[in-house]
């Protein structure tokens, strides 16, 4: 892998006109990654999902170079119907389109920032991302501006790529009193690629961020997505994850509640079949007084699928009056399915209210019996119960337009 990395890296450098300093920095991260390799289960954070193994088993040898000089045609048929929205389109990792047609142009700034480096995560995937990301943008929403329409980020891959690693990065800055809704929509027709996505959000006072990540369409790719969210006073972040389509996905949410009265919500559904393996890992850092976090993760596992949830609530000694809550529930439908959880509390302040709960088991036979005695078939009762179980999480979505979009996507009937 080392030679491949070196070779692809040299090609990347050739394609972009970077300053000597930037090349040095990228080189530094490349060396870091070469030293550390893909994370494996010896690392505590990857205990339940050994990425190194998963990549070796599913992909084999990866290549890291993509030709970003030629453009891809944007297939408009993938666009969501019936919902007016702004768009960012990634095709095979290349940004093809950024359009904020529905917004006031002077209220949003799009900054090209290819040279800056993210340092908010200390795992080797962040090194990989830093070394290979070519073009990254920062979307800045100005003070007091609330976007009229949601932004949908299309992550599309097609059959042109195979056994490739793709690195993406986006930064968002939401200034005072601004708000933004983002839907990440994954749409893959490619196979056996590894997507490595880093988002960074900065929320200033009173800013509101709603991020919905939808990975619904069946595909054989492997994905890692990392969200870093820094929150100032009174800001609110809401993250919803629907994790279902890809072969392997790990979503990480790292949330720093830095300002008083800031709050974070993380809700997720892991709905898996076959031998898929998905994980959500969340870290909520309560760093000051009167902050709040709420997390609800539900999993439904069929066949020999595997889900993992690692959630951590950290409360430092200054963060009095913290309210932290975390619940994970899983239904195992098959004897081969597996659910692993590590809900963690790390608390250094005394005047706090923190709790977590985790439960896993099979479908409740009594409930099935009840429904069947009222004339439903076994299959219908089962579906009804699972729907109800998952609907609970979908109902937590505070934006009604997007809630409907997601309900349609999953096919949840009310």
């Amino acid at each position: 892998m080392k030679e491949q990395l070196q070779k692809d890296f040299n090609n990347i450098i050739k394609d972009f006109s970077l300053s000597q300093k930037d090349i040095e920095i990228k080189k530094f991260f490349l060396d870091n990654f070469i030293n550390r390799g893909f994370p494996n289960k010896k690392e505590e954070d990857w205990k339940f999902s050994d990425l190194n193994q998963i990549i070796r088993k599913n992909i084999g040898e990866l290549s890291f170079y993509s030709d970003y000089k030629s453009t891809n045609k944007v297939d408009t048929s993938i666009f969501v119907d019936g919902l007016e929205h702004n768009k960012i389109v990634f095709i095979n990792g290349r940004i093809e389109k950024i359009d904020f047609d529905y917004e006031k142009k002077d209220q949003i700034e799009i900054i090209d920032q290819s040279e800056t480096i993210n340092e908010f995560n200390n795992n080797s995937l962040s090194d990989l991302n830093n070394a290979f990301t070519n073009k990254s943008f920062k979307i800045l929403v100005k003070e007091g501006y609330q976007l009229a329409k949601p932004l949908i980020v299309y992550h599309t891959t097609n059959t042109k790529i195979w056994s490739k690693n793709i690195n993406l990065r986006l930064d968002f800055e939401l200034n005072k009193n601004s708000s933004l809704r983002i839907v990440d929509l994954f749409n893959d027709t490619s196979e056996k690629n590894f997507l490595n996505i880093f988002y960074n959000f900065e929320l200033k006072e009173n800013a509101i961020l709603k991020n919905y990540k939808i990975d619904k369409f069946e595909n054989k790719n492997i994905k890692y997505s990392f969200n870093n969210i820094d929150q100032e006073k009174n800001s609110i972040s809401e993250t919803f994850i629907l994790s279902s389509g890809s072969n392997f996905v790990k979503n990480e949410i790292n949330c720093n509640l830095k300002g008083k009265y800031s709050s974070a919500f993380v809700n997720g559904i892991l709905s898996l079949n076959n031998d898929k393996h998905h994980e959500i890992r969340s870290i909520i850092n309560h760093l000051t007084e009167n902050t709040k976090s709420y997390q609800l993760i539900k999993s439904v596992l069929e066949n020999s699928s595997k889900a993992a949830y690692q959630g951590k609530i950290f409360v430092n000694s200054k963060a009095q009056k913290t309210d932290g809550y975390q619940l994970s529930k899983a239904i195992l439908l098959n004897k081969d399915s597996e659910f692993n959880a590590k809900p963690e509390l790390e608390i250094y302040a005394d005047d706090v209210k923190c709790s977590h709960g985790s439960a896993s088991g099979s479908l409740n036979e009594d409930s099935i019996f009840y429904l069947m005695s009222r004339g439903l078939s076994y299959q219908q009762s089962r579906e009804l119960l699972i729907n109800g179980f998952l609907l609970d999480v979908v109902e937590k979505i505070t934006d009604s337009e997007i809630k409907n979009l997601i309900k349609n996507l999953i096919g949840i009937k009310e």
Binding site: S317, N334, F339, A341, E344
Partner: protein, 480 residues
Amino acid sequence: MDNRQKEIDSLKDYKYGFSTDIENTRAPKGLNENVIKFISNIKKEPEWMLDFRLKAFERFKLLKEPDWQKPKYPKIDYQDLYYYSAPKSMDDKPKSLDELDPKLLETYKKLGIPLQEQARLNGIAVDAVFDSVSVATTFREELTKHGIIFCPISEAIQKHPELVKKYLGSVIPITDHFFATLNSAVFTDGSFAYIPEGVRCPMELSTYFRINASNTGQFERTLIIADKGSYVSYLEGCTAPMRDENQLHAANVELIALDDAEIKYSTVQNWYPGDKDGKGGIYNFVTKRGLCKGKNSKISWTQVETGSAITWKYPSCILRGDNSVGEFYSIAITNNHQKADTGTKMIHLGKNTKSKIISKGISAGFSDMTYRGLVDVSSKATNSNNYTQCDSLLMGNKCGAHTVPYIKNKNSESTIAHEATTSKISEEQLHYCQQRGLSSEEAVGLIVNGFCKEVLQQLPMEFAVEAQKLVGISLEGSVG
């Protein structure tokens, strides 16, 4: 008089902090094959036992000290320790208590464990372990009548080699982790109990561990076997003198329950916790593991952890037999600069196995407390069930309370439920108690006892009273 007053003053916080001035026989300092041979020799052990130790030592040389735990400690120099220390008077085994060094009798009297016939605690058979040797075991004749074997493990190795050979290392193999393997190589003494088929042990068995000598590591080994249909309740207590240095205590405890047998193991751990500034105290790195080998067997751990500078242990149950049950009840209290990383492992292997974990943690002062636990339901453990509850109470904002549970469910017909909360004592509760005339200290004591009640109830009577007092003492000065 002055000296006496000084002693009283210094013992106010930890009343077991005195040391006994007694002449010792020691192994040469350091850890090597010769030391292991020395220990084996002084214990007059058979060849196979020495082999067991040497094999463990070979393995130990390959192992690295773990460092994933929350409480970090300065590196221990394993060559700078004495691995064997015993009162000289024990060199020729005294035949009866009359021959026992009066200083030892005095020590145990001071600790509240009288060994003499007339003053013995009723209904409790005690094995008293002093540094590296067992000095006395009470009520042996009474127990022999029922066919129960209760003796120091070094004696069991000589008199009941077939049992020891069969079970020693069967739950904690010599290839286990760092400290367990170290123990297998250098363990000195401990208790051995065998309850024959169908016997319900008529009294509580108990071991009292005392560290006295300085610069010594204590490595004791306990092995309890409950044969088919038997029952035993076992108690363990520990204290040590106050010293500025940190002392290592790395014990191994193995429990084996055969068909329909039940073992109840209770610990009140009150090793010296170090002084107010965190100087000194015991490193309590203990491996405790129970194997529910037979069908319908049950192992229940109850622990009250108030002492030690660092407590690092996870009493575990391997539920191999169908329908077997594992339980874990724990209260851990840390104050001043104490640190604890404790919890349990419940490994479900058999069908219809059940486990229950109730853990209560209280941290005060500058202390740090972690609950770390594993519930692992294997794919064969159909219809298994686990319930876990961990509650933490924080007093002050200089301390920490953490919960790190690992939950693995590989069986769709099994259920696992986990709950954890962290909070402080509510103002309303305090106000209510104070309104009714309790001082704030008393009020806190009352509330804490209520918080711990679920666990305290599991302890045998005599222990429960003691433990309740201990809970109060450990938290003294942490309020207000």
